[in-house]
């Protein structure tokens, strides 16, 4: 890290950038200049630290001070206090959500303690726009090793022995995939990186691409060498401008350094990488749809076989891997398959990145070893449920995952166990729900997403998901019947059994898992016309308790539809015909007079 005494790392991920982190960097640099500290302190814009909820994040090395919610105007204080006087700015330090005490060293932050960062090894550490920082962290050493010391089949063997499985969701063994592509004849082959991350709330791939783009480029080149492909393509959503910008810089720098292009490291191996942009269709994450989209056709899946490894992009053998899968490759080559295989469980090796969100104290991006339990993630890394509420469910696997409950909290996280529990690994979305969440509404929310994102090619997904959503809507409005549940069950089963691609084959998961785990809630909606979470507007009514109402008129003034009547110092009443159930009165009342039935 040069001769600087201090390094100030400022997060330059999309989240922190939108909270003015670039301005923080500028202000820090101005303060450094004003104090003539240019040779003493260096400010580095890094990739994502993962703790996005607390952004913008500024970390000072070597003492690991972890400042959160930093504002541009805090720059002066950080320089004056921390750098010049050596005193931490306590008010900016991360505070433990349970003890509310500031944590001085980021190593002691519970959010990071249980994490194991392989994929995210460089995120929040290096400047992603500077290839030398990547190289300084053993970047491109794995590629060098492959080209100089290993035969292609040996590379494949290492990946196979590592036990690495596809991180895009389905968990197909990566080494086997490479092996099939390598066995396909022909000189024209393609390595495709699937960066079409589309799960709502998920940003694992984006963080890797923004924080450590070279790790993906290097791995793609290794894959190209292993399977005999001279071309690489990254299919990335056009909505990821920063990732695109950093990838472009990274590709250019790698080409200038001779790490991409013709005769890499003086070998016979040549490899180039181009970007292809997606228009934000969730289904294009499915590899055949992705390939059709890259070819300029409608992004629709086709039946497999033929698998892309045999006939993919332009009909040529194509190996498609997800960003996170690629980010694992170089460490496996450098540290050996045995090291990687020692992490995780028998069938699921290594780590997994999750986007932890929902009703949880620590929201952000985490990387944990496979086999960790949901309890550890939610209560230790996540710091427990927000506002001391009761845990109800956790939804894993993105929109086609399932909702797991209390009884699954101690299940180790693996591809197989999640499927057995009625959910899936997916690409790593993890949304925590508490007692205020209505599970029928949650199922409907996810269904509505798949209804929007279905490509429309096959009838069960195009129409079936729409009908599922309509039945759920009927139930949340209090018009459902017990027969509807039978219809739901049958439709879920048939859609899974007949849909063309992974999207349709998994889209009923949220319905099936909530039917299984929250049967009572469905029955309550249908029979009792009640929503225990008070989320379904058609099933709840706001009332004013005459005992508590002081007639202060606050609620009546705030009511947007003038549904509350009552004179000053008189008990107020809500006109149920006018009430839109917006909840403003409940929020406004200071005397706990408003209640829901």
């Amino acid at each position: 890290m040069g001769t600087y005494k201090y390094h100030i790392l400022v997060c330059g991920g999309t989240g922190c950038k939108s909270s003015q982190s670039a301005q923080i960097v500028q202000n820090l640099n101005e303060e450094i200049k004003a104090n003539n500290l240019e040779n003493f302190v260096k400010v580095v814009t890094t990739g994502c630290f993962g703790f996005c909820e607390r952004g913008p994040i500024v970390k000072v090395l070597p003492d690991n001070s972890f400042y959160n919610y930093v504002k541009p105007e805090d720059a002066k204080e950080i320089i004056n206090e921390h750098i010049i006087k050596g005193r931490r700015v306590e008010r900016l330090l991360f505070r433990d959500p349970v003890t509310n005490k500031p944590v001085t060293d980021s190593k002691h932050i519970n959010f990071y303690q249980k994490q194991l960062r392989i994929v995210l090894r460089n995120c929040g550490v290096i400047d992603p726009e500077n290839i030398e920082e990547y190289i300084a962290r053993d970047g491109y050493l794995a590629l060098y090793k492959c080209l100089n010391e290993l035969k292609p089949n040996e590379v494949i063997d290492i990946i196979k022995r590592s036990g690495l499985r596809g991180r895009g969701g389905a968990g197909f063994p990566t080494g086997v995939k490479w092996e099939i592509a390598a066995a396909s004849p022909g000189p024209e082959k393609y390595v495709v990186c699937n960066a079409d991350e589309g799960d709502p709330g998920a940003f694992m791939d984006r963080s890797v691409l923004e924080g450590d783009p070279h790790s993906v480029l290097e791995a793609m080149a290794i894959c190209g060498y292993a399977i005999g492909a001279p071309h690489g393509l990254i299919y990335i959503r056009a909505e990821y401008p920063m990732a695109i910008k950093r990838l472009k810089i990274a590709i250019k720098q790698a080409e200038e350094y001779g790490l991409l292009g013709k005769n890499i490291f003086g070998s016979d191996f040549s490899f180039d990488i181009e970007l292809r942009y997606g228009a934000g269709a969730f289904v294009c994450g499915e590899e055949t749809a992705l390939i059709h989209s890259m070819e300029g056709n409608r992004g629709e899946p086709t039946v497999k076989p033929p698998y892309p490894a045999v006939s993919g992009y332009k009909g040529k053998p194509t190996n498609v891997n997800n960003v996170e899968t690629f980010a694992n490759i170089s460490p496996i080559i450098l540290r050996g398959p045995e090291w990687f295989a020692s992490i995780g469980t028998e069938k699921s090796k290594g780590t997994k990145v999750f986007a932890l969100a929902g009703k949880i104290n620590n929201v952000g991006l985490i990387e944990v070893p496979m086999g960790i339990t949901l309890r550890e993630i939610i209560y230790e890394i996540g710091g427990g449920i927000k506002n001391g509420k009761k845990f109800k469910a956790v939804q894993t696997g993105g929109p086609s995952g399932g909702c797991l409950t209390e009884k699954h909290l101690d299940t180790p996280i693996e591809y197989e166990t999640l499927v057995a529990a009625g959910s899936m690994m997916g690409s790593g979305g993890m949304i925590v729900m508490d007692e205020d969440d209505c599970m029928v509404s949650v199922a409907k929310f996810y269904l509505d997403f798949t209804v929007e994102e279905s490509c429309g090619k096959c009838a069960p997904c195009r129409i079936g998901n729409k009908r599922l959503s309509e039945i759920l809507d009927k139930i949340t409005k209090g018009n459902g019947t017990m027969e509807d549940i039978e219809l739901l069950k049958n439709l879920c089963m048939v859609i899974k059994d007949t849909a063309l691609c992974g999207l349709g084959q998994t889209s009923p998961n949220p319905v099936q898992s909530t039917l299984e785990n929250f049967w009572d809630e469905y029955v309550e909606h249908i029979v009792d016309k009640k929503c225990r979470a008070n989320k379904c507007k058609d099933l709840i009514h706001y009332y004013i308790d005459p005992e508590n109402c002081t007639g202060c008129m606050a609620c009546a003034r705030k009511c947007p539809v003038n549904a509350i009547v009552g004179e000053r110092k008189q008990v107020h009443v809500i006109n149920q015909d006018l009430c839109t159930k917006c909840g403003t009165c409940l929020e406004t009342c200071k005397f706990n007079a408003v209640y829901i039935i």
């Binding site: 490509c455 009838a459 009908r467 059994d497």
Partner: protein, 591 residues
């Protein structure tokens, strides 16, 4: 050939590698219901997007059901084609499709001929448990084809015909999810698209999402009008297919019964487009010989090959796609329009009535003819030469309303003078027919010798692109034939590249020619039907006493009495046309 051993419904079976489960089941007479799948065996056209999910079967060891239309048999595969799980899945999926389909079977143009309706009957669907919102789209009524996207079931057959076979690229899936539907780009109207109105989309549509513009109502009104004289012309390919609509086997020739039925419908004169086909040969054949002679004499201003111009979809195709080649096709009008011009000028004069009083109706195997009849250049004082053009299917509908039993009708002859024709005109209905008819006449006009053999086997067949050399007494004439616009495109691109070896090329837009036209009774994916029709066309040729256009006595008379000679000034005025560059216009409407 490599084979694999499989078991279907406990029956062991050995099938060639890469056989699909659907094909394998068919080999042992096990029927698997299908909906989106369509295979035209003889044309190597197969639609199998595996989108409808009706043909699902159960393969042992697979987690989910698999679509039999695309899943290839592998060694040791154990397949069940029906069990409760499959039947429940098929019915549920069909209910879903029906739940997003308008419930108006009774007044639907495809009532009784709809694949979706038949399937619902076959699978015994009596209630639709899954109901909800239906997708709604705007109807698109063009000059020839009506799109009713609400009836689209996303089988994608039209897309295959439009893109892969015809290379027109008009129809493709648009939108996402529940709102996905097949439509032109930006959901434009067909009129503003590069559509040629070939009607192949209509020919394969399983429902009424794509139908022809129905003109039977307008026709009945004209027939009922006492002030009008209504004449009808029937195209060569109609007489060999009309019987199918009345349960007769494909390839049955019903010329005489059709004439009787048309007379009973109330037409004042029943004429024959074949007459105009003979006339087309006189003009086009002469044009060919003129161009050829000039070319051989070293006139560099003459362009070869000459391309036939009878097919209106083909004319639309080159006007929209090859504006640089507009001077290559023959300037001869199509038989429909030649007939119209002769009827409105020559015949109206004979009847001593103004042309506006004469209503010319055509019965065509084609939907593009509806568009052709409306073209500006085929009108005089806004009175079109052909007033109404109906398809074979529309004629059948009309006959069913008028005639008790079509199959037992007596036979009648066409009326004179515009009803006489030769075998050369009869073969216009199949691919290769127009050029064979032209060669029969051109040979005799050029060599001044009688043909040694009247049938040119080398020009016949069903291959997409055919080449033959015809010997004109020492002059070797290279003939090219293409059907299907995608194949036409290949020959046109050769011409553009200066690599064409042909003197003359016949092009028909539809697979098989007019016998496979967009206005014909639906073949439902059975290409053997189209082959049977072709056989009937050649049979009709052999049946006729005269088989060369220039021997048609009424054609000879027409030239003597009226036109003078082929390519005369009056011929030019009445029987020839010009072509125009046509660019599709993009109109973006704001919703």
């Amino acid at each position: 050939m490599k084979t694999v051993n499989i078991t279907i419904n406990n029956i062991p079976l050995e099938v060639p590698k890469s056989t699909t489960i659907l094909q394998a089941a068919k080999m042992i007479n096990i029927e698997i219901p299908t909906l989106c799948h369509m295979k035209l065996e003889d044309f190597c056209i197969e639609n199998k997007p595996a989108g409808c999910r009706i043909c699902m079967v159960d393969v042992k060891g697979r987690r989910n059901l698999v679509p039999s239309c695309v899943t290839e048999c592998t060694e040791g595969m154990v397949i069940e084609t029906s069990n409760p799980r499959i039947i429940n899945a098929r019915r549920t999926v069909l209910e879903l499709i029906l739940s997003d389909h308008p419930f108006e079977c009774l007044i639907c143009p495809k009532n009784g001929k709809c694949d979706l309706q038949s399937l619902a009957q076959e699978l015994g669907v009596r209630e639709i448990r899954y109901t909800g919102e239906q997708s709604t789209y705007r109807m698109d009524t063009s000059q020839a084809i009506i799109r009713n996207p609400e009836k689209c079931i996303m089988c994608r057959r039209c897309e295959l015909m439009c893109n892969t076979v015809q290379t027109c690229g008009v129809l493709s899936a648009v939108n996402r999810g529940f709102m996905s539907v097949v439509a032109p780009a930006f959901e434009q109207n067909l009129d503003h698209s590069p559509c040629t109105f070939c009607g192949q989309c209509v020919a394969v549509c399983p429902t009424a999402a794509l139908t022809e513009v129905d003109q039977t109502g307008k026709l009945i009104q004209a027939l009922a009008d006492p002030d009008k004289v209504v004449v009808v012309q029937t195209a060569p390919a109609v007489r060999v297919t009309l019987g199918e609509e009345f349960g007769l086997k494909p390839g049955t020739i019903v010329t005489g019964k059709m004439v009787t039925a048309l007379k009973r419908l109330g037409f004042n004169y029943v004429f024959d487009t074949d007459f105009a086909a003979d006339l087309t040969i006189m003009e086009e054949g002469t044009e060919l010989l003129n161009r050829l002679t000039k070319y051989l004499n070293g006139d560099k201003s003459v362009k070869l090959p000459i391309l036939t111009s009878c097919c209106p979809a083909w004319v639309n195709f080159f006007e929209k796609n090859f504006p640089d080649l507009l001077d290559i096709p023959s300037s001869a009008k199509s038989p429909q329009q030649m007939f119209g011009a002769v009827a409105k000028n020559y015949f109206a004069k004979q009847l001593n009535i103004p042309r506006e009083k004469l209503v010319v109706v055509s019965v065509m195997p084609c939907v593009a003819k509806k568009y052709e009849a409306q073209r500006e250049e085929f009108r005089v004082n806004n009175d079109p030469d052909v007033n109404i053009s109906i398809t074979t299917r529309e004629l059948a509908t009309l006959i069913k309303q008028t005639v008790q039993d079509f199959n037992s009708l007596p036979e009648s002859d066409f009326d004179r003078p515009l009803g006489e024709s030769t075998g050369a005109a009869a073969i216009f209905g199949t691919t290769g027919g127009v050029i064979e008819a032209a060669v029969r006449t051109a040979y005799e006009l050029y060599t001044k010798k009688p043909l040694p053999k009247i049938e040119f086997e080398e020009l016949r067949g069903m291959e997409w692109i055919r080449k033959a050399t015809v010997d004109f007494d020492g002059l070797k004439l290279n003939i090219g034939i293409a059907h299907g616009l995608g194949n036409a495109r290949k020959l046109l691109e050769e011409i553009q590249a200066g690599k064409s070896e042909f003197h003359a090329i016949e092009i028909m837009a539809c697979p098989g020619g007019c016998i496979g036209g967009g206005g014909q009774p639906q073949h439902h994916g059975k290409s053997e039907i189209i082959k049977a029709r072709q056989k009937a066309i050649y049979e009709e040729d052999r049946r006729l006493p005269l088989r060369k256009s220039h021997e048609n006595p009424y054609i000879i008379k027409l030239y003597e009495e009226y036109l003078g000679h082929p390519m005369s000034e009056l011929s030019h005025e009445l029987l020839h046309t010009k072509y125009f560059q046509k660019q599709p216009e993009i109109i973006i409407e704001n919703d």
